[in-house]
């Protein structure tokens, strides 16, 4: 009981300590506000921007952008992954092309994407879509491929229909791998969002940060960076929760409390 409480506290010690050192250096005047504003200043900037309504607006826009890209790219990746995982023919026809495109870092396509879509919303969604597509696609195919063939044979010999086989054996068997893909995809999603929003934008956390840079508001820049970190952490927590709920049968997941 006692050691559990200590275990809960331990991971927080270092960040809290750093914060304390940072704050005291700022208070002592060693760190100037131009270079690195104090934690309190960052929090105050956050409170101020929330009151003016700017921060909620930018947060919402960033979140909407990220979610839309994830939904589109993730769905395409999942469906194509299912197709190529289940059909040898489709895999023959499609997989090597997909693998070829995968070797292009998606951020390298920014100039081309701007030529295609301009600097509007489509360009940003397109980048996020491509970014999240690959990890979901690859891990869906891999998940299906790595299902124990004896389980599929068992399903066949017990007379499961194709749909029954898919729902009872293939999908749940591939799920751990698909969730790993989702986790990667979320990481790429935030990264792409940051880059996309700093290209040219008139809302979102990235815009807020770039705009603050122009006015030398270091506290707001720092606030933006912290928000990205928090959003990334939140997304990671959601996948962990999903894993724990959906994979509770797996001893590797349900032992973590």
């Amino acid at each position: 009981m006692k050691s559990a409480a200590i275990n809960q506290i331990l991971p927080w010690l270092l960040p809290l300590g750093l914060l304390a050192v940072w704050q005291s250096l700022s208070s002592a005047g060693i760190l100037t506000g131009r270079i690195l504003p104090s934690p309190v200043a960052v929090v105050l900037a956050g409170v101020h921007l929330t009151q003016t309504g700017e921060l909620p607006l930018h947060l919402f826009e960033s979140f909407r952008r990220a979610a839309t890209g994830l939904l589109i790219g993730g769905s395409i990746g999942f469906l194509l992954g299912l197709l190529n995982g289940l059909s040898v023919l489709a895999d023959r026809v499609l997989d090597s092309s997909v693998q070829m495109v995968r070797n292009i870092p998606h951020l390298a396509m920014i100039p081309l994407v701007i030529l295609w879509f301009g600097i509007g919303e489509e360009a940003k969604l397109f980048l996020i879509t491509i970014g999240v597509f690959f990890p979901i696609y690859i891990n869906t195919v891999h998940g299906i491929r790595s299902i124990d063939p004896r389980l599929i044979e068992m399903g066949r010999s017990y007379g499961l229909s194709r749909l029954g086989l898919f729902l009872n054996v293939i999908l749940p068997g591939a799920l751990p791998s698909i969730l790993v893909g989702l986790r990667y995809a979320l990481g790429i999603m935030w990264l792409t969002l940051i880059v996309a929003e700093t290209i040219a934008c008139d809302n979102g956390i990235g815009y807020m940060t770039m705009n603050a840079r122009d006015f030398l508001q270091t506290d707001v820049v720092l606030l933006g960076i912290c928000l990205y970190a928090l959003l990334g952490k939140a997304a990671d927590m959601v996948t962990r929760l999903l894993e724990r709920r959906l994979l509770s049968w797996n001893p590797a997941y349900n032992s973590i409390t």
């Binding site: 749940p172 068997g173 797996n250 001893p251």
Partner: protein
């Protein structure tokens, strides 16, 4: 319909062949694994096949299950030529092949006939193997022997007329294996189905079999009918003698 027939009380029906294998050969590429096999399994008969590893036992069971097709010859089930999966047969492996993401009960329900009382049928099968109290557990936390009992319950719940057991006890420790043998025999006597059991344990073969067949390089080379009463005492002189005879045939040549 089928269920109603299967649930009828046992009568003297040993003569009716449930499955008939007629001059079946199986080739994988150039490699001939089974060579003109003949086999009849009567209703409510327990046939045991012993043989060295690689002689073709599993291949024969997979043919009976309809998971492979014969290169030559034919298999008849209830007098009809077998095409595709054998609906009356259920295969059970050394590995229990339970779905880890379904509970014990969920695994068994999956095999039960798709009617509204499937959960009841599944629970009934689980109590027969003595695992009704583990119904809600994940398979991963059961012992190897318990997992095999769940696999057996799954086969029972499917109301199959023919259980194809491919070294189902091979991975179990000696004590659990004896327990499982007794359990299989008990359930088999109570329910009305046939068994083809593949094993490399000759003692298991003579303790359980109505008939023991020795397979060697894709052919049956010895057949022994055993008419002794059940449950059999492993140490009885006849059984020990039979065991020696079969063992020497398995090891010989």
């Amino acid at each position: 319909m089928v269920q109603a027939i299967l649930n009828q009380p046992i009568q003297e029906t040993r003569k009716t062949p449930l499955v008939q294998v007629s001059r079946v050969s199986k080739q994988f590429g150039k490699k001939r694994v089974l060579h003109e096999i003949d086999l009849e399994v009567a209703e409510h008969e327990l046939v045991v096949v012993v043989g060295r590893s690689g002689c073709g036992k599993s291949t024969m069971l997979r043919l009976l299950a309809g998971l492979e097709t014969a290169t030559e010859g034919q298999i008849f089930v209830d007098g009809l030529g077998l095409r595709g999966a054998n609906a009356v047969a259920r295969l059970m492996f050394q590995n229990s092949a339970l779905l880890p993401w379904k509970t014990v009960l969920g695994n068994v329900v999956l095999a039960a006939p798709r009617t509204s009382d499937a959960p009841a049928v599944a629970m009934e099968a689980l109590s027969q193997v003595g695992l009704a109290d583990r119904a809600k557990d994940w398979p991963a936390i059961l012992s190897g022997g318990q997992q095999q009992r769940v696999a057996l319950a799954r086969a029972l719940a499917s109301q199959a007329g023919l259980l194809l057991l491919d070294e189902p006890l091979g991975a179990l420790d000696a004590l659990t294996r004896l327990e499982m043998q007794a359990l299989i025999e008990k359930i088999w006597i109570k329910r009305r189905f046939s068994i083809v059991l593949v094993t490399h344990d000759v003692e298991e073969a003579v303790t359980l079999g109505d008939r023991v067949l020795v397979m060697d390089r894709g052919q049956f080379v010895l057949e022994k009918e055993i008419l002794m009463a059940r449950p059999r005492t492993r140490t009885s002189p006849e059984l020990v003698e039979l065991k020696e005879e079969i063992l020497s045939r398995v090891m010989g040549s």
